[in-house]
């Protein structure tokens, strides 16, 4: 009959010692060692404990030993299930690969009435209808999209300003809904809009069809209007009025906002967060400036270094943590995305932080002109004249041909972190992503030279910041765990 072993079985010294399980390590600034395993579980060890651990001399009765065994950093006679558990967690972590093309972006127009100097999409002025997606292109794109094996699809409408082609959005939503119902798939919709054109008709439509609205809010009026000029100079007034109006009709959880950091933003993290809270928003995504579109042309991209942005991010993150400590739930979404990977076995949901790269596998972009791109950033690169990541055209190419495009497969394969120089040995690899489009755009190579990569520099700094906070501040760690579960 099965039963518990006698107590002595658990307290007796090991006679056979232990073996290391696959582990990577990183030296923190305070000389302690961060260790992680294949599935992203992690510990911070003193230099002495780390030295003992790797020399197979860590005392069996020590707290470090118990933690490392529980998290599958070592295996001994009492932990034979470690292999199976690690394999199971690895499958869980990669489970998103079965739902390819879960995100489809429809660029319904390139027209926009704003003139943001950091615009990533190289928008066109409002009167140029040649930059609208046609009905034929939209329907053909839906044919291709619903031919993929994805069971859950999110369709995101982007532009330019997508509400300038609202009639087409309505048709795509109706068609996609019908096809989803017929095929047993689930489809969700998001409109990424500046809200300047929001009216009762749009709100009624969004409410009836469960459409989520995502907008840009760069901070208080002076900052937002400076970053996002439009005729009349009233972008902030329109955006905030639109947010409140949408919240009233659709609900607070159906309206989201994103900010973009410019040089002018760097000293204003608390002000930006306060503005989000003033509008009843419960999340913020502290984003850096990306190297695409007008951001390059207007020289916005290199106006601040990564370290300056990290100072901004640290201040913003600490401000958000303090808000949570006072009892109000407010989430920094980038941290939440990373923490989901650090604190749960679940895969990440952010394309730029996926490994294998999410381009063309998790996301596909149907451009207004019927061209198909591997990601939104690939589309932005095309507007700058670089069509490297163009997969094909909806009217000319099959889905299979586009997804087996040599350039795409080469980029995904070569950028795989497990085989990329420096990434292969990095302790933060389980939380990071391959961003081949970024590295192609900034360094001319899909793998990139990580020692000089702004992406790598930023990611490493964020990872270190998060683990350092969790290690030093149990209350903040608890807050982070609540974010990870909801990300």
């Amino acid at each position: 009959m099965a039963g518990f072993q006698p107590l002595e079985r658990y307290t007796a010294p090991l006679t056979q010692g232990y073996q290391l399980l696959p582990v990577r390590f990183h030296r923190l600034k305070d000389s302690r060692i961060f260790v992680s395993n294949l599935v992203g579980e992690w510990e911070i060890l003193s230099a002495q404990d780390f030295s003992s651990y790797v020399r197979l001399q860590l005392p069996h009765e020590s707290a470090a030993y118990e933690n490392l065994r529980a998290k599958h950093f070592l295996i001994d006679a009492d932990s034979s299930v470690a292999y199976d558990l690690l394999a199971l967690k690895l499958r869980t972590r990669l489970s998103h690969l079965r739902n390819i093309l879960g995100l489809a972006i429809f660029v319904v127009t390139l027209r926009c009435e704003h003139s943001c100097p950091y615009c990533q999409v190289s928008r066109q002025s409002e009167d140029r209808r040649a930059f609208d997606m046609s009905r034929e292109t939209a329907l053909k794109a839906l044919d291709l999209l619903f031919a993929s094996p994805a069971r859950t699809i999110k369709i995101e409408f982007q532009g330019g300003e997508p509400l300038l082609n609202f009639d087409l959005i309505k048709e795509i939503v109706a068609q996609a809904g019908s096809r989803a119902a017929a095929s047993g798939k689930t489809v969700e919709f998001v409109i990424a809009t500046n809200l300047a054109l929001l009216d009762d008709e749009v709100l009624a439509f969004c409410k009836a069809n469960g459409v989520l609205l995502s907008t840009s809010l760069d901070g208080p009026a002076d900052l937002h209007d400076r970053n996002r000029p439009r005729p009349g100079g009233n972008s902030h007034a329109l955006a905030t009025a639109g947010i409140r109006r949408a919240q009233d009709v659709l609900g607070h959880d159906r309206v989201a906002a994103l900010m973009t950091t410019t040089k002018a933003s760097l000293a204003r993290a608390p002000d930006i967060i306060a503005e989000y809270r003033r509008l009843g928003l419960q999340e913020i995504f502290l984003r850096p400036l990306s190297p695409y579109g007008f951001a390059i042309k207007t020289r916005q991209y290199r106006t601040y270094e990564t370290d300056e942005w990290m100072s901004f991010y640290r201040e913003g993150l600490r401000t958000v943590i303090d808000i949570n400590k006072r009892g109000e739930r407010f989430v920094e979404l980038y941290a939440a995305t990373v923490l989901r990977k650090m604190l749960t076995p679940w895969p990440g949901t952010y394309v730029d932080l996926m490994n294998p790269a999410g381009i063309g596998t998790q996301v596909i972009v149907f451009n207004y002109n019927a061209d198909v791109y591997a990601s939104d950033e690939a589309r932005m690169l095309a507007e700058m004249g670089d069509h490297t990541f163009r997969l094909g055209n909806v009217h000319k190419d099959s889905l299979e041909a586009m997804l087996t495009n040599d350039t795409l497969l080469d980029a995904v394969e070569r950028s795989l972190l497990e085989s990329a120089p420096q990434c292969a040995d990095c302790a933060f690899q389980p939380y990071c992503g391959a961003d081949p489009v970024f590295h192609h755009a900034t360094q001319g190579d899909v793998v990139g030279h990580k020692p000089s990569s702004a992406f790598c520099h930023r990611q490493m700094a964020i990872f270190e910041e998060l683990v350092t906070i969790m290690d030093a501040d149990p209350e903040a760690a608890s807050i982070f765990r609540s974010w990870a579960g909801g990300a």
């Binding site: 582990v23 790797v54 690895l90 499958r91 990669l94 030279h449």
Partner: protein, 86 residues
């Protein structure tokens, strides 16, 4: 030598490393990419030496664990039978 090259790669964002072998010893000449104080150069040298040792340790860990890693990966990617209890 592999450890030295890997360490040199890690630091290639901050310095160039000239590597030569002479009398059975590996000699590294470190040149910071940006001009800096001598003290900063000393810190870089210390960090580089630590990095070489770390790369050797990574190689040693790899020797101990690579087969286990491959076994775990094989287990993770093995077909699922779909039968209860298996």
């Amino acid at each position: 030598m592999v450890a030295v090259k890997k360490a040199a790669f890690r630091f290639s964002g901050w310095l160039t490393t000239d590597i030569r072998i002479e009398d059975g010893l590996i000699h590294c000449r470190l040149t910071p990419l940006a001009s800096g104080e001598t003290e900063e150069g000393g810190q870089l040298e210390h960090a580089f030496r630590t990095a070489v040792l770390d790369e050797e340790l990574r190689a040693d860990i790899g020797t101990q664990t690579d087969q286990l890693r491959n076994a775990i990966l094989a287990l993770a990617f093995a077909p699922v039978t779909g039968k209860t209890g298996q």
